[in-house]
C-alpha cells in the first residue's frame, strides 16, 4: 500500500525539469503535475517510478493567453481555469465546453490540461477537444521546442509521441466561432462511453471550417471527417445536425474499438451519430449566439 520508494525532485524552471529528465534517462521517471491520475496510480501500485519530477511550480506553464488569433493554454492550467476562462469561452469555446465535463469539481480544481493530455486515456474528454480544434501541442526537449499537431499526438491507450526526455508545455488552438462537447457518460467511471467535440468557424452566416472528433470509442481520439464535410460550406441555418452526424461512426476502425462490461465497443460505436448530432447541434446554437453554448 505504500508505493515503493522513489526519489522526488521539484523543478524550479523548465530547464531544470528537462535536465532532470535527461540526467535520469536510464530510470523510470514520471512527471507530476496535478496528480489526479498519477497519485491514484501510485497508491494502487499501478505506477512504480524511480523518480518523480514535480513540475507543479513551473508558473511559466500556467495560464491562458490569446494572441494573433490563437489561444494558448499552459500545460499547468487546471480544468477549472479553462472551464471558467472568459478568454477560452470567447476564442476557443470547444475547450471550455469540454473542460467543464471533466470529472468533478475537486478534480477540475487540481487536474491540469497538460497532465490530462499526456495521460492519453482513450475515454478522457479533453483529447477530443484538442483534436477537433486542430490544436498544436508545444513540447520542450533537450533540443529545444517542437510542435506536434494534436491529430498526431495520441498513439493509443496511454501512449503519445512524447519522448521520455520531453515535457508538454502547452497547447495552442486557432480561434473559432463556436464549439461544444457532448457525451454519454459511463455509469461507473464517469468518463466517456462516447464523447464528441465539435468546433465551427462561421463567416457571413456560412460554416467556413469545422472540426469534429470523438473520444471513448477507440484507443485514441479520432477526427470525424464524415461529419465535418457535411457541415462545411453550408449556411448555419441549413445544417441538419442529424444528417451531418449520420456517418459519424465511419472513420472508426473496428480493430481500435475499446469496450467493457457496461458498454461494448460495438455499442459505443453506434452511440457516435447520436452524440455527434448533439455536439454539432450545440455548436450551431453557439454559432448562432456568437460563441460557445449557453
Amino acid at each position: 500500500m505504500f508505493p515503493p520508494e522513489f526519489d522526488y525532485r521539484r523543478a524550479e524552471t523548465v530547464a531544470e525539469a528537462l535536465s532532470l529528465l535527461s540526467d535520469h534517462a536510464d530510470r523510470d521517471v514520471r512527471l507530476l503535475a496535478g496528480g489526479q491520475g498519477l497519485v491514484a496510480d501510485l497508491k494502487a501500485g499501478a505506477a512504480t517510478p524511480d523518480l518523480l519530477v514535480d513540475v507543479g511550480d513551473l508558473t511559466s506553464l500556467a495560464g491562458v493567453t490569446v494572441a494573433a488569433d490563437r489561444v494558448t493554454v499552459g500545460a499547468l492550467a487546471t480544468h477549472a481555469e479553462v472551464a471558467t476562462s472568459a478568454t477560452v469561452r470567447e476564442h476557443a469555446p470547444v475547450l471550455g465546453a469540454t473542460a467543464e465535463h471533466v470529472a468533478d469539481l475537486q478534480v477540475r480544481n487540481r487536474g491540469t490540461v497538460g497532465g490530462n493530455l499526456a495521460e492519453a486515456d482513450p475515454t478522457a474528454d479533453l483529447p477530443a477537444a484538442v483534436v477537433a480544434a486542430d490544436a498544436t501541442l508545444h513540447v520542450r526537449g533537450p533540443e529545444g521546442e517542437r510542435t506536434v499537431a494534436a491529430t498526431r499526438f495520441f498513439e493509443g491507450e496511454g501512449r503519445t509521441v512524447l519522448g521520455s526526455d520531453e515535457l508538454l508545455t502547452g497547447v495552442s488552438l486557432p480561434a473559432r466561432t463556436a464549439g461544444a462537447y457532448a457525451r454519454e457518460t459511463h455509469p461507473a467511471t464517469g468518463y466517456a462511453m462516447a464523447g464528441v467535440a465539435a468546433t465551427l468557424d462561421v463567416a457571413d452566416g456560412v460554416v467556413s471550417a469545422a472540426g469534429v472528433a470523438a473520444t471513448g470509442v477507440a484507443d485514441r481520439p479520432v477526427r470525424l471527417g464524415t461529419v465535418e464535410e457535411r457541415v462545411v460550406g453550408a449556411p448555419v441555418e441549413d445544417v441538419d445536425p442529424a444528417a451531418a452526424a449520420a456517418g459519424a461512426a465511419e472513420p472508426i476502425a473496428a480493430d481500435r474499438l475499446v469496450g467493457d462490461a457496461h458498454a461494448s465497443g460495438e455499442y459505443r460505436l453506434q452511440l457516435l451519430p447520436t452524440v455527434a448530432e448533439r455536439a454539432v447541434e450545440q455548436a450551431l446554437e453557439g454559432a448562432a449566439a456568437g460563441g460557445g453554448p449557453a
Binding site: M1, F2, E184, P187, A188, T189, M193, D260, A261, H262, A263, S264, Y267, Q270, L271, P273, T274
Partner: protein, 765 residues
C-alpha cells in the same frame, strides 16, 4: 402518557445523531485507537476454484514490522475451531462451514488464504504481496442454473449436484389444477442481478485480548452485537461471557454487517494469539471480492389468469446462487423468498420451488430486502405481463385482485395482518396522473415515455428484542436497546417513544445501543424490525417505569394512585393543585420515602416479541423516458406511497424510503456483480461496479397512508426495505411499458443503456 397534542411520536423531530456525524465528531471503528494496535490484512485467492497446494509466508514474516503471518495450519494448531458455521441442519447436504483461512481448497476468488499482521496497515498490506500461494486450478462454475447441470464442476463433494437445499412452498397439485383451469398463462424468465452491498463504511474490527481476565473485546461494524458475540464464540471456541462486542458508529449495514465473515473473527484470533490489539479494515476491493453479495436469482415463473382478470395461480422455480460457502443461514434464506409471492393479491394457488446452489463465487446472503425484493419482482413483473396479455390497464388488474379482507392467509404461508391496498394504489395513481401518462407515447425529445407500478407487501419485525428504561436519581433517563442504529435514527425515535410514555422531555433521554456488556440481550437491526421489536420493548419498559413512578408519586402526594396523573413533567392529583415533579419522584425511588412493598430503583427491562408479522405495503410508481437511439433510461419521476402504520418520525421514515429507492434504482439500472466463466470478478472496484450517483436519481416523492398493525401496541410496521423491494419492478415495468410500441416485452436488470438498446434492436426497433 403524554396527551396527543403534545406527543412527540408522529413528529419529524430532527435526528439527534446528525450533529456528531456531520461534524466528524463521531468515531467509526477504523477511527478507534488502541495502544500498540497491529493491523491485519488478508492474502486472498486469485483462483476461484483450486486445490491449495502451498501457502509460503516465510518471506512475509521476514519483513521488518511484520508481527505474524498465518495460514490455516496456525489456526488449527491453536486449537480454535476457526470455522464460520453454516446452518447445515437445514440443508440437504452435509457441507463444512467457511474456514477463516482456506484449508486445502479455495472455492471463490477472494477467499482468504493467509493473514498478515504488522505494526502498521501499510506494512501489512505490502507483506501480503510477499506471501506465495501455490494452487492447482479446478474448473469453476458461476451460474446457479449451469451448476446443477450434469457434468458441472462440483464445489463440495457432499453436494454432488451443487444443490445446498431445495425448498418447496405452496401446493404443486393445486397450482397445476389452477393453471389447467385458467384461461391464459403468461411466463417470464427473470434474472435478479447479483449485487455488492456497498456501505459507505467498509467492514472493520478492532479486537483486544485481556489475558489477565481472559476477556476478548471486539469493536466492530455490527448490526447485531449479540448475534456477532454468539457467532464469534462458536468460531473462536470461547464462551459468550468472555466476549464483549461493541458496535460504535456504523456507516450503513444493509444486512452485510449482520453476517459472520472471516475478517472480524481473524482479528479477534490474532489479538489473542499475539496478545496485542489487532485492527482489520476491509478494502473496497476486498469488500467486493469476498461478499457477502446479495440477490443472484434465476427464475422461471408463470401466472395463470382468467379472461375476466382473475389471477388464478402463480408458479415459480428459482435457482439462487449461494456462493463458494454457505455463510450461516445464507443458503437457507432463498428458500423463504417465495413466502411473499402472493404479493398484494388473493391468489388461489401458488407453488414455488427454490434451489440454493453452490457456485464458485463470493458467498451470497441477505441484502436489504433479503428475499422480498426477489419475490415482489417476480410477482409484479408477471402481473404486468398478464395485463399486456389481457390488454387491460395494469392498475385495474391489480385492483381487481388485491386482498381486501384481513387477516389474509396466502397459499405460501404468509398471514397479512392489516392493510388497505386499494387506497395506497389510488393515492399513487392520483399523484402521477396515471391515465395521461399511460396515453403518452413519446416526449418532445422523441424518447419513449413509460410508467410502471409496483404494489408490494413486506414482512417486517420478526424475533425478540430487549429494551431497558432506566430513570436516574436526577430524573434523567437512559434507554438501552438490543437493536443497533447504523442510519436508522433509533437515538431519536426511541427517545420520542419513551418521552411520550413517561411525560419526560426527550432532551432528558439518552439512548444506548451496540454493547453486549451494557445491554441484556439483543437480536439486532435488520429485516425492518427495529421500531416494532425495539420500539415496543422500550415502550413497554417505559410504561412499567411510569406505573411505578406514579405509585411513588401517589405515596408522596398521599393520594390514591388512581387519582394521580402525569402531565408536563409532573404528577398531579386530579382536581387539586397538588403535584410532584418527575425528578423528585426519581430521587425518591432511590432514597427514602418509597411506599411499602416497592423495591428501590426506577427501571424496567422488557424482552419483547410481537404476536405476529406486520406486513408493510404500498404502491410505488416510476415514470421513465427511454432514448431509443442510445438505450439510456431516465427515471423522471418516482412516487412512493408507503403504509408502515403510525410513523414515529415521518422524516426518518422518508429518509428510509429515499435510501431504499436509491438502492433499488441502482439495482434496476446499473449495479451488477459480474463474473467471467472462470469465476474472476470483473467488477471488483467502483470504477467497474456502477453504484447510482445523486445525478442518476430523481427526487423521490413520498406519501403515506396509515393502517396500524394489530400485532403490537404501537401499531407500527417496518419501513427499512420498502424502497429496495418496490423500486426494481416499478422501474423495469416502466421501461417495458415505454418500449411496448417497439414490441419489447422483457429486459433483464440492470437496465444498462447497452442492454436496453439491444432489446430495442432485437425487437426490430
Amino acid at each position: 402518557m403524554t396527551d396527543d397534542d403534545d406527543a412527540l411520536v408522529g413528529r419529524p423531530v430532527p435526528r439527534r445523531e446528525d450533529r456528531a456525524l456531520l461534524t466528524g465528531a463521531a468515531a467509526y471503528t477504523d477511527d478507534l485507537r488502541a495502544p500498540g494496535a497491529a493491523h491485519l490484512a488478508f492474502v486472498r485467492s486469485e483462483a476461484s476454484h483450486a486445490h491449495l497446494d502451498d501457502v509460503d509466508v516465510g518471506a512475509a514474516t521476514a519483513i521488518d514490522g511484520v508481527l505474524g503471518a498465518f495460514t490455516w495450519a496456525d489456526v488449527a494448531a491453536s486449537g480454535t475451531p476457526g470455522v464460520l458455521p453454516v446452518a447445515s441442519a437445514r440443508l440437504d447436504c452435509d457441507v463444512p462451514g467457511h474456514p477463516v483461512l482456506a484449508r486445502d481448497r479455495v472455492r471463490y476468488q477472494g477467499q482468504p488464504v493467509a493473514a498478515v499482521v504488522a505494526a502498521d496497515r501499510y506494512t501489512a498490506r505490502d507483506a501480503v504481496a510477499a506471501v506465495e500461494v501455490t494452487v492447482d486450478p479446478l474448473d469453476a462454475v458461476v451460474d446457479p442454473v449451469a451448476a446443477t447441470a450434469d457434468g458441472a464442476p462440483t464445489v463440495f463433494a457432499d453436494a454432488p449436484d451443487n444443490v445446498a437445499v431445495t425448498t418447496e412452498l405452496g401446493d404443486r397439485e393445486a397450482t397445476a389444477r389452477a393453471f389447467a383451469d385458467a384461461d391464459r398463462v403468461v411466463e417470464l424468465d427473470l434474472a435478479n442481478n447479483r449485487l455488492v452491498p456497498s456501505a459507505l463504511e467498509p467492514r472493520a474490527a478492532l479486537a483486544s485480548w485481556d489475558d489477565a481476565d481472559e476477556q476478548l473485546t471486539v469493536r466492530m461494524t455490527s448490526q447485531s452485537p449479540h448475534g456477532h458475540r454468539r457467532k464469534l464464540a462458536t468460531t473462536l471456541g470461547l464462551p459468550e461471557r468472555r466476549i464483549r462486542v461493541v458496535a460504535p458508529r456504523v456507516g450503513g449495514g444493509f444486512g452485510h454487517k449482520g453476517h459472520h465473515h472471516p475478517g472480524e473473527a481473524m482479528a479477534a484470533w490474532a489479538a489473542r494469539q499475539l496478545d496485542r490489539p489487532v485492527k482489520w479494515t476491509a478494502t473496497r476491493s476486498g469488500n467486493s471480492l469476498a461478499g457477502a453479495h446479495g440477490r443472484d436469482h434465476r427464475t422461471t415463473a408463470a401466472l395463470a389468469v382468467d379472461d375476466d382478470g382473475t389471477i388464478r395461480g402463480l408458479r415459480a422455480e428459482t435457482h439462487a446462487a449461494v456462493g463458494g460457502y454457505g455463510l450461516g443461514g445464507g443458503p437457507v434464506m432463498p428458500g423463504w423468498y417465495g413466502r411473499l409471492l402472493a404479493g398484494q393479491y388473493d391468489v388461489e394457488a401458488i407453488h414455488c420451488e427454490t434451489h440454493s446452489v453452490f457456485t464458485n463465487t463470493a458467498p451470497v446472503h441477505s441484502y436489504r430486502g433479503a428475499g422480498r425484493p426477489e419475490a415482489i419482482y417476480v410477482t409484479e413483473r408477471l402481473v404486468d405481463a398478464a395485463a399486456r396479455e389481457l390488454e387491460v390497464d395494469p392498475a385495474a388488474l391489480r385492483r381487481r385482485n388485491q386482498v381486501s379482507e384481513f387477516p389474509h392467509e396466502t397459499p405460501v404461508g404468509a398471514t397479512y395482518d392489516s392493510g388497505d391496498y386499494g387506497r395506497a394504489l389510488d393515492e399513487a395513481l392520483g399523484a402521477v396522473d396515471w391515465e395521461r401518462l399511460r396515453a403518452t407515447g413519446r416526449d418532445d425529445a422523441g424518447r419513449y415515455v413509460g410508467v410502471g407500478l409496483a404494489c408490494y407487501v413486506e414482512s417486517t419485525g420478526g424475533g425478540h428484542e430487549s429494551g431497558v428504561v432506566r430513570v436516574h436519581p436526577d430524573g434523567g433517563v437512559t434507554i438501552y436497546a438490543g437493536t443497533h442504529s447504523h442510519g436508522q435514527g433509533h437515538g431519536t425515535t426511541y427517545a420520542q417513544i419513551v418521552a411520550d410514555e413517561l411525560g419526560v422531555d426527550d432532551d432528558e433521554i439518552s439512548v444506548v445501543e451496540g454493547d453486549t456488556e451494557r445491554i441484556p440481550t439483543g437480536t439486532g437491526t435488520f429485516g425492518s424490525r427495529s421500531t416494532i421489536a425495539g420500539g415496543n420493548a422500550v415502550a413497554e419498559s417505559a410504561r412499567a417505569v411510569g406505573e411505578k413512578a406514579r405509585e411513588i408519586a401517589a405515596h408522596r402526594l398521599e393520594a390514591d394512585p388512581a387519582d394521580v396523573e402525569e402531565a408536563g413533567g409532573s404528577f398531579h392529583v386530579t382536581g387539586t393543585d397538588r403535584s410532584v415533579p418527575f425528578a423528585d419522584v426519581a430521587a425518591a425511588a432511590y432514597g427514602r420515602g418509597l411506599p411499602a412493598g416497592l423495591e428501590p430503583g426506577l427501571e424496567a427491562t422488557t424482552f419483547y416479541e410481537a404476536e405476529g408479522t406486520a406486513y408493510t405495503f404500498g404502491t410505488h410508481v416510476a415514470v421513465v423516458a427511454v432514448d431509443p437511439d442510445t438505450g439510456a433510461v431516465d427515471v423522471e419521476r418516482y412516487v412512493a406511497v408507503d403504509d408502515c402504520g403510525p410513523r414515529v418520525n415521518p422524516a426518518i421514515v422518508e429518509g428510509q424510503v429515499h435510501g431504499g429507492v436509491a438502492q433499488g434504482i441502482g439495482q434496476a439500472r446499473s449495479e451488477a456483480a459480474l463474473y467471467d466463466d472462470d469465476g474472476t470478478l470483473l467488477t471488483d472496484e467502483l470504477l467497474r461496479y456502477a453504484l447510482p450517483r445523486a445525478a442518476d436519481l430523481p427526487d423521490v416523492e413520498t406519501r403515506a397512508t396509515e393502517t396500524p398493525s394489530p400485532h403490537n401496541d404501537l401499531g407500527v410496521k417496518g419501513i427499512g426495505e420498502a424502497g429496495t423491494i418496490a423500486a426494481p419492478p416499478a422501474v423495469v415495468n416502466a421501461v417495458v411499458d415505454a418500449l411496448a410500441p417497439l414490441d419489447v416485452e422483457h429486459v433483464d436488470m440492470p437496465l444498462t443503456a447497452e442492454r436496453v438498446w439491444r432489446a430495442i434492436e432485437d425487437a426490430g426497433g
